[in-house]
């Protein structure tokens, strides 16, 4: 028997996952299952939707209603599910390329609507499935197979992007900070509106190797040493924060949720007749 958690929430006959050794995605996926468990959700009423890429293979291993869609479109499919049946708890698992490049438009509009979808972006800073091309979150100067001389694009801060676009809950943790990640996903699930949790993953196979970041363990050590909790960061100087990145909760400001607002229209029209 696998652990009680894994036995309860995973399609164990499909394990182990297709991911490379040391890929952070499995850790993140476990954290999500743990958050669902702590939230006490009914598996039959949870739908997990993904797009295309390494991260998007996660739902196939998870024992819920699961939908593996087209590249970048997970949030658009998820919007249809949520609006058609608001009783379903809709979770989107997506990657940095899937969510912010090809699916960038869907992301900002899902944020803007504040529709009740919990999105977890597995950010490994690279297109892994296609072999290591640079993504919108590959840091400037880093290499990918399509940035052989270093990436000249500026990268997105996914949480700031989502917050600015109207998401009512945004947060970030890493695969190393898996317990924090579970807590943040749990909080995200508790928000009725649109939530986004960026889960910093690690891709030792492509991003790590291309950029001499070391093996899986060294990449996890990097997460441990360079992540600063947003609460602690407020007491630090700019120099102290140089080269660091923030984790924790950035925004938690509930606002009326989209499908509830739509329901009000239906109810109003029903009364008028």
């Amino acid at each position: 028997m696998p652990s009680t958690l894994v036995e309860k929430y995973f399609r164990t006959e499909k394990l182990p996952q297709i991911w490379c050794p040391g890929c952070g995605h499995g850790i993140i996926t476990r954290s999500i299952a743990s958050a669902i468990d702590q939230s006490g959700l009914d598996k039959d009423k949870v739908c997990i939707v993904s797009g295309i890429g390494c991260s998007s293979r996660a739902p196939g291993y998870m024992d819920f209603n699961t939908l593996h869609t087209t590249h970048g479109r997970a949030l658009a499919f998820a919007t249809g599910i949520k609006l058609a049946n608001p009783e379903i708890k809709v979770i989107v698992i997506t990657g940095d390329g899937d969510a912010t490049a090809i699916g960038g438009n869907h992301l900002i509009h899902a944020c803007r609507r504040n529709i009740g979808i919990t999105t977890i972006v597995y950010n490994n800073n690279i297109y892994g499935m296609t072999g290591g091309q640079y993504s919108p979150t590959t840091p400037k100067g880093d290499k990918g197979t399509t940035a052989p001389f270093g990436n000249i694009d500026k990268s997105f801060d996914i949480c700031s992007l989502a917050s600015a676009a109207g998401a009512t809950y945004t947060a970030r943790a890493t695969a190393y900070h898996a317990n924090l990640l579970t807590t943040l996903v749990k909080n995200a699930l508790a928000n009725d509106g649109f939530s986004l949790v960026e889960a910093v993953s690690a891709c030792p196979t492509y991003y790590g190797r291309k950029n001499k970041k070391g093996n899986a363990v060294e990449m996890m050590e990097w997460q441990k040493n360079n992540a600063v909790n947003v609460a602690a960061a407020s007491k630090m100087t700019q120099e102290q924060l140089e080269g660091k990145f923030l984790i924790g909760e950035f925004k938690n400001k509930p606002e009326p949720e989209y499908t509830s607002e739509y329901q009000k229209i239906i109810d109003k029209l029903a009364k008028g007749r």
């Binding site: 958690l5 040391g22 499995g26 476990r30 996890m220």
Partner: protein
């Protein structure tokens, strides 16, 4: 030290259970085990000294492949 086969490929030390068939040998559990209980041999996880294990669950938390977890009451608690 008692070892028994639980299910195909699984090895139980009661307080710690490993599944080498799911292990991809990344070494994350080894690196973050505070008591140095674990190591990798032939690209698979092995338990060196189960007596040192304090069931902190750091291995289970960060194993990307769910190939190791703490047993007994702590297993139930984590679900």
């Amino acid at each position: 030290m008692e070892i028994k086969d639980v299910r195909a490929g699984e090895v139980s030390y009661e307080k710690l259970i490993i599944n080498p068939s799911w292990c991809k040998g990344c070494g994350i559990c080894v690196a973050f085990c505070p008591k140095k209980v674990l190591s990798i041999e032939n690209e698979k996880i092995v338990v060196n000294d189960i007596e040192k294990c304090i069931q902190c669950g750091m291995c289970e938390l960060r194993c990307p492949d769910f190939a190791i977890y703490v047993g007994g009451k702590n297993n139930e608690k984590r679900a």
